[in-house]
Symmetry: C2
Subunit: 159 residues, 2 copies
């Protein structure tokens, strides 16, 4: 496995992850009605950092191997969808528009996991925690949307 390759994929992960710092949780999120099973705030950066290392590890193992084209295409798709969810949820307060992004992200992560597994078992296994977490995040997004029907999206263009 090329360490430079790992670092480039990791940079892509941290570009997506930078949205966590740029669009932080705060008063708005604190005031939302949450389901009882909501993970504590500290868990999110810890889990995401771990997942980013696993994602970069999986991609760096698979990328140099023959037949990796679809795995790479799905990996690129999931990182793009991953990057836009946080701005839509925390930047626009748009719980509803965040849902189809989550659904698309879940499918992209599923396809990424399967396509990586076909090339390299360890890479596929490394992506399972991501698939599990996206399932939780998607259910959380759904619960927050249902529990907070009066939340109005922001319109930054008009502010």
């Amino acid at each position: 496995m090329s360490f430079t390759l790992f670092l480039i994929f990791l940079a892509a992960c941290f570009a997506a992850g930078a949205t966590g710092g740029l669009f932080p949780t705060g008063r708005w999120y604190a005031k939302l009605t949450k389901p009882r099973w909501v993970p504590p705030n500290w868990a999110f950066p810890v889990v995401w950092t771990t997942l980013y290392f696993l994602m970069a590890f999986a991609a760096a193992r698979v990328a140099p191997q023959e037949g990796a084209a679809f795995a790479m295409a799905f990996w690129a798709l999931q990182i793009a969808l991953n990057a836009i969810w946080t701005p839509v949820f925390f930047g626009l307060h748009n719980l509803k528009a965040a849902l189809p992004i989550m659904a698309a992200l879940w499918l992209a992560v599923f396809a990424t996991t399967v396509s990586h597994w076909q090339i390299d078992t360890l890479a596929g296994i490394a992506l399972l925690p991501y698939l599990a977490w996206i399932t939780v995040a998607g259910l959380l997004n759904l619960a927050l949307w249902r529990l907070n029907p009066d939340t109005k999206p922001l319109k930054p263009a008009e502010l």
Copy 2:
């Protein structure tokens, strides 16, 4: 070239491009002092749509070829950076934080172009308009930041 592969890369592009619809220009952007050479508003979606097709075309040509690992890693990096620029600029009104993202994006697009060119000349050529446009977009971001020193970033978490 696999058409399915092209469509997956195109989906990644349109995930990044969806930020243009989610974070539209509006009153805030209209009021910014612009340099004389600012492109008209209609040019942005036209140019970006064209570039997305070219990016997906380049990636779909290169992905199945031997030695494409670095090209794929850089492609993933550029699409992640591409996806976060619009939310930071139009969502946060943060002209300054958008600058290092633009700088990183320019480097990522440069590396993507070179690495694609090494595998496939046509793919490299297809990425040149993207590199040219990112240069213009970067200079525009810089000019807008200089011309509008009093623009205050939004803090959506506190709204």
